[in-house]
Structures are given as structure tokens and as C-alpha cells.
Symmetry: C2
Subunit: 191 residues, 2 copies
DNA sequence: GAAAAATGTTGAACAAGTTCAACTAGCCAA
DNA sequence: TTGGCTAGTTGAACTTGTTCAACATTTTTC
């Protein structure tokens, strides 16, 4: 079974009984996805929520000017979803692309609803997870305002060494909100 | 009773029975706060979650360079909280200042826990609210990357005319992540 | 293993945004 | 009424980041 990581991740947020964990896990289906393939593309409706077991994903949008803005990267032990599209069944603005051969656990919308209804503590679990995520988005916004691109770059590679080492500079630049040419110049100036 | 607005706000997210709404409301205590006073200051522990009935607040942090970064403004019908400090009882990084004489409904930590435990649907309510908030933070980050300061300024005053009309340019600049001198120059160039 | 495609580097000219300083205007308190 | 705050404006010099184009390097594809 490959649910150990999911169970561990859940227990970081809230302690569930073994019975509850079993039930939760049953709803999540293991899925493999090849490098460069998409789990979701802009314009389509997000039919799943996912948890990454192996590999790495890049979650990004393409704006009117054609620039790719990376919202976040999801490596092992990260969640992966377009809440808005998933909850409201509206077309997504996001693309989720595997950066390497990856394994994810997916749950579809109907099963997610069942899960919420049949195991009430799951509401609490996702409430807590969402609130934690909220805090980190707030902090990221502040960092974007308070730090220069160079500071943000070094913060990123220091804070997420496992993820950043898998990424091209172009992908990192998309996450930092700068052009990759400029990142190249930042790196040249050295720490 | 001044709970009408809160009830309305809750019902936008999830339909609760009148009985449940009554119970929820009981936990929220009306509080008044004068212009320029603080509901929370950086370094102290956030002991409440709040909902704004009247007036307007500015939620900001002061970074090492002494710059004020505004996370958001909370006017009538907005929620107001430092989840991280409130949940984990750690010192807050945030300041919450009334920009005019204001009225809020506050709930303390113990009561919030009670509320979660005694009315399970409240977990769902705050799960949904947090997820919606998450989406809007993600969108804001993308806007910050994809738009210039000028575009962000006009987006802000167009999207939040009621709030932005109450604010000084300095406060708006803090929200946009630019210096107020530059905002002054943006405005001069006209739409 | 060669061709094609994507990524990374560099430079020069440019645009966006900051800094600092000087000045204007409005507001409030005593 | 005066003095002291704070907000807003403007200009000049500066820093940060962009754009575009040319080239080098790595990765992918067949």
C-alpha cells in the first residue's frame, strides 16, 4: 500500500483514528502521470483533488500577455488542487504539469462530498489545512512586497532545496515573478 | 440586534438553520473601537476572530526596513483575524488598526473551539470560507506578478470602490506594494 | 548520433519603481 | 492664531527589472 505518506500528512494536521484513516484512504485512487503530461489544463473543469506521492508538479496560469505565472510547485507530500474549479465546477485558470514521472492520489468530487458527509472530522481536517495554506499565501505576498527578486530567489532555494533543485531556472523565475534572463543575471552576481 | 449582517454573511457560504444561527451569534460579542485604535498589534497574541459590522480596518505588518505592508483592508461584512496567532497562540506579525470608528463582533478562542465542537456545521462553514479566501489570495498573487502598479491601482479602486474611497493614498500604496510617491505619479498620468 | 528544440547567458537600451529632498496643503490641538 | 503633524506632489538621480537579439549549452527526439 502507498498510503503511508498520506496518513502521515493527515496526522500532521489532525489525529484521526485508524478506522477513519482507512476510510479516508479508500477514497483516494493512485494514479501515475508521465513527465510533461498535464493533470489539469486551463479552461477545463477540475474533477479531482490530489496528493503527491512521488515526483513534482508545476501549477501555473498563462496570462493575456502569454506569460506563465507559477502559483506553486507540488512535490512529494504536497496537495494539488484548484479549489475554485473543483468546488464550483467552473473552468479552471490553472495548468498542472508533471515535471517528472509522478504518482498522485486522486479523489473525485462526488467522493470528496461523500467523505465530508460520512466522516465529519474531515471537514475539520480540510478547514485546518486550508487555514494553514492561507497563512503561507499571506506570507508569500508580504515577501513579494518586502523583498527584491534576489532576496526572494535565495529565500526560495534555501527554504525548498529539494524542490528547487529539480527545477529549471525558467521555472523558478516564473514562480518568483521575474523574467528568466534577469534570474540569470542575479545568479551571476553571486550571493 | 446587530447580527443581521453576520447571518447574511454566513448564509452566503452555507445555509444554517435559524437555531444554528442563533447559537453561533450568541458567541460573538459586539465591540466598538475608535478611529486609529488597534484591535491587534505586532508581537501580541491574537485572542479573537472578528467580523466587521461598521467602519474599516487596515491589517498590516512592519518589516525590518520599517515599511508598512498592508495585507488587506476589512470593511463592513469582512472577516478579520490572524489565524496563525489565534490557532497556535503565537505572537502575531500583524497590526489591525481602525481607520474610522468601527463596530465588530468578536469571538474568543475558547468560544470558537466550543462553537466548532457544539455545532459541527461550523467546521464546514469555516472550511468553505477559508477555501474561498485561499482562492482570492492566489489570484492576488497572480495579479501582482502579471500587472504593473498602475494596472493594480485601477483594478483595486474599480473592484473595491467603497473601501478605496475611505483610504488615503498612502494606505492604498501600502496595499499595492509600492511607495506612495510613485502612486502620486501614477495618478498624475491619468487613466 | 545528428538535428531540432528548449534552456541559459550576455549586453545594450529601455521602462518601472525607489529614494531623497524640497515644497504645498489640510488638519488638529493648545 | 500659531505651531506641529500628516498626507500629498514634484523633480532629479538612482536601482531594479524588462525587452530584444545574438549566441552558447543542454536536452529531447527521431
Amino acid at each position: 500500500m502507498s498510503y503511508g505518506l498520506l496518513i502521515q500528512n493527515i496526522n500532521k494536521n489532525l489525529n484521526l483514528s485508524n478506522k477513519e484513516l482507512d476510510l479516508v484512504c479508500k477514497y483516494f485512487k493512485p494514479t501515475e502521470i508521465k513527465k510533461r503530461e498535464f493533470l489539469l489544463t486551463q479552461g477545463s473543469i477540475c474533477k479531482f483533488e490530489g496528493f503527491v506521492l512521488e515526483g513534482c508538479f508545476r501549477i501555473f496560469t498563462i496570462d493575456k500577455k502569454g506569460n506563465e505565472n507559477t502559483l506553486y510547485f507540488a512535490a512529494k507530500d504536497w496537495w494539488l488542487m484548484d479549489i475554485d474549479s473543483f468546488m464550483n465546477q467552473i473552468p479552471s485558470n490553472l495548468n498542472m504539469q508533471a515535471l517528472e514521472d509522478s504518482k498522485v492520489l486522486l479523489i473525485n468530487r462526488q467522493d470528496k462530498m461523500m467523505l465530508y458527509n460520512s466522516i465529519p472530522i474531515v471537514e475539520k481536517l480540510f478547514r485546518i489545512m486550508s487555514q494553514k495554506a492561507l497563512v503561507s499565501w499571506q506570507r508569500r505576498l508580504i515577501r513579494n512586497h518586502a523583498f527584491t527578486a534576489k532576496e526572494r530567489y535565495f529565500y526560495f532555494i534555501k527554504t525548498y532545496p529539494d524542490i528547487s533543485s529539480k527545477l529549471t531556472d525558467k521555472q523558478i523565475a516564473g514562480y518568483l515573478g521575474i523574467r528568466h534572463e534577469f534570474l540569470s543575471k542575479i545568479k551571476k552576481t553571486e550571493k
